[in-house]
């Protein structure tokens, strides 16, 4: 589903964000991407969405070689990918509902289904009461959850999330991971960049660790069950 062949990304002469990266993520996999700040996680995810192009090497996603893909097909390719951006990228001038409705319009979902789908997606991230708020009226974590709802709203083929729990408390984080796991069960391939070692430890999934733009470790994490730490725990950990 996602293949990197000897991918190098240099932004300028001094820094190489990614260094000769080769790996493969199969259809239906759920993979964590981790590594210290500045290791190149976001850069890797941006390559998948073709926000940027590699300096060297090939990126193949959903059977498409992104280096050779025609520019006019880019929007259709991107519709197959649900992305949670590290900085959320919500449209400030639109309310939460309008943000979701816009995506549904893009995905050619008939307008009469928008309300239902948006409500369901927000319900999943526990934000259905903020349907008509503007992003700037939301807390950091709430914005992040809108971004997650947007990425998940129509079961994308590939689900890519950059630090989707950075602004969430551990209970909510675990809940979000459970949502990603559900999407994964419904068929989405999931790639999830995170710093949260606890989440990775509890998940029992494959982990790719980046360091200075290189893969330093690739392994299967054996799931550890976390003990509930407060009365708010629900979701996976129960």
């Amino acid at each position: 589903m996602i293949n990197f062949y000897h991918v190098t990304k240099r932004f300028d002469r001094y820094s190489t964000a990614l260094h000769d990266l080769t790996f493969q993520i199969d259809k239906g996999e759920f993979v964590f991407l981790t590594g210290p700040s500045g290791a190149g996680k976001s850069t890797l995810l941006k390559l998948i969405l073709r926000q940027i192009t590699p300096t060297e090497g090939q990126v193949v996603v959903n059977g498409r070689n992104l280096n050779t893909m025609k520019h006019s097909l880019l929007p259709y390719f991107r519709r197959e990918i649900g992305m949670v951006f590290q900085d959320f990228k919500l449209i400030e001038r639109m309310t939460v509902f309008e943000n979701l409705s816009f995506i549904l319009t893009v995905l050619n979902v008939p307008p009469k289904e928008h309300k239902r789908k948006a409500y369901a997606a927000l319900r999943a991230v526990d934000l259905h009461h903020k349907l008509n708020a503007y992003p700037l009226q939301l807390s950091g974590g709430e914005q992040q959850r809108v971004a997650i709802a947007r990425a998940l709203i129509n079961d994308p083929l590939v689900l890519v999330a950059d630090e989707p729990t950075g602004n969430l408390d551990p209970d909510m984080s675990r809940d979000i991971i459970r949502i990603f796991a559900d999407a994964n069960l419904r068929g989405s391939t999931v790639l999830l960049a995170t710093h949260d070692r606890e989440l990775i430890r509890e998940s029992g999934r494959r982990v790719i660790t980046l360091e200075h733009g290189r893969i330093s470790e690739e392994k299967m994490q054996i799931a550890e069950r976390a003990a509930p730490r407060s009365e708010h725990v629900f979701g996976m950990a129960q």
């Binding site: 929007p75 197959e80 990228k89 449209i91 001038r93 309008e98 893009v106 995905l107 050619n108 068929g187």
Partner: protein, 313 residues
């Protein structure tokens, strides 16, 4: 949940019937959300069009005023003092054959003498002493100056000079030439000012929309990232620009009309000739349409320019 976007997503779908609705709804929503920016854009467009429109209005009325003045351009045909009746008929026939010269007035010997004595009262004793009326009869002909300036007319006058009984053909050249200069001047002013203003208006609108696009830069970027086609992104901008432009055009016409009719009401009755000229009549509906459609076109052009430019980055 059906993976419904998936098959559709792979190929460019036909524009769904609701796309245009989406464009319009989205454009209206944006104009409303960004009231302030919209206000600025509409203001700029209507200012530009107001300036253009005032100029149109001015030239419209000036044109008419100038035409009235020009109406006084005159040709005087002095007949010879000893002109015979046959010759008179020949001259009449010549004049009748030329529709340009239809607005004419015959000045008989007596009228000529009388005029002379009225003009030169201090010469009354001279004329009083005359045994015989020495003044020749003449034709005074009003010629529209746009005709008077043509070579064809010059040729016609030369023919007229050759008609028997015609002594002299005096063209009111001095006055005509002056008027001609003034009209030329006004035209040059008109073309220069109109041209400069039109260019300025186009630039202004394009720049405003360009700045507006910069404001929306992030938003557009996000739309691209979530898979919106250029058409989906640009559509609302186009409609927005077009709507703003059209509204700006309408506002401009409204302002002009308000100013014009207010001026007509307060200034025209004081009825110096000048104000009468300037507040003669409002723009004809064709020019009103041109102004409004000018706004529409400007909005369209501005959107096109800026959306296009952005897409190239």
């Amino acid at each position: 949940m059906a993976r419904d976007f998936n098959t559709q997503g792979r190929h460019e779908p036909n524009v769904p019937s609701n796309t245009l609705t989406y464009f319009f709804k989205e454009a209206l929503r944006r104009i409303w959300t960004a009231k302030r920016t919209s206000f600025v854009a509409v203001t700029m467009i209507s200012i530009s069009l107001c300036v253009l429109g005032s100029f149109l209005l001015l030239s419209e009325n000036l044109q008419r005023a100038v035409e009235q003045w020009q109406g006084r351009s005159r040709v005087t045909v002095y007949l010879s003092a000893e002109v015979t009746n046959d010759e008179l008929k020949g001259v009449n026939a010549f004049l009748a054959a030329h529709p340009d010269l239809s607005s004419r007035h015959f000045v008989g010997r007596d009228e000529a003498l009388q005029r002379f004595t009225t003009y030169f009262t201090n010469l009354a004793e001279v004329t009083g002493n005359l045994e015989e009326n020495p003044f020749p009869p003449s034709w005074e002909i009003e010629v529209r100056p746009e005709i008077a300036q043509t070579r064809a007319f010059d040729a016609e006058m030369d023919d007229l000079r050759k008609v028997p009984g015609v002594d002299q053909v005096q063209l009111d050249w001095e006055w005509t030439r002056r008027l001609r200069h003034i009209i030329d001047l006004l035209n040059v002013i008109g073309i220069a000012a109109g041209g400069v203003l039109a260019i300025a208006a186009a630039f202004t609108i394009a720049n405003v929309i360009r700045l507006t696009m910069m404001l929306y830069h992030e938003e557009i970027e996000i739309m691209r990232l979530v898979g919106a086609t250029e058409r989906m992104i640009r559509g609302p901008f186009f409609i927005e620009g077009v709507l703003q432009g059209t509204i700006g055009g309408c506002v401009a016409v409204a302002i002009l009309a308000a100013g014009f009719f207010a001026g007509q009401k307060t200034l025209a009755p004081s009825s110096s000739l000048l104000w009468g000229f300037l507040f003669g009549s409002f723009l004809p509906w064709q020019k009103i349409l041109v102004l409004i459609l000018g706004g529409t076109a400007a909005g369209w052009f501005g959107s096109w320019l800026s959306v296009h430019e952005r897409a190239e980055e």
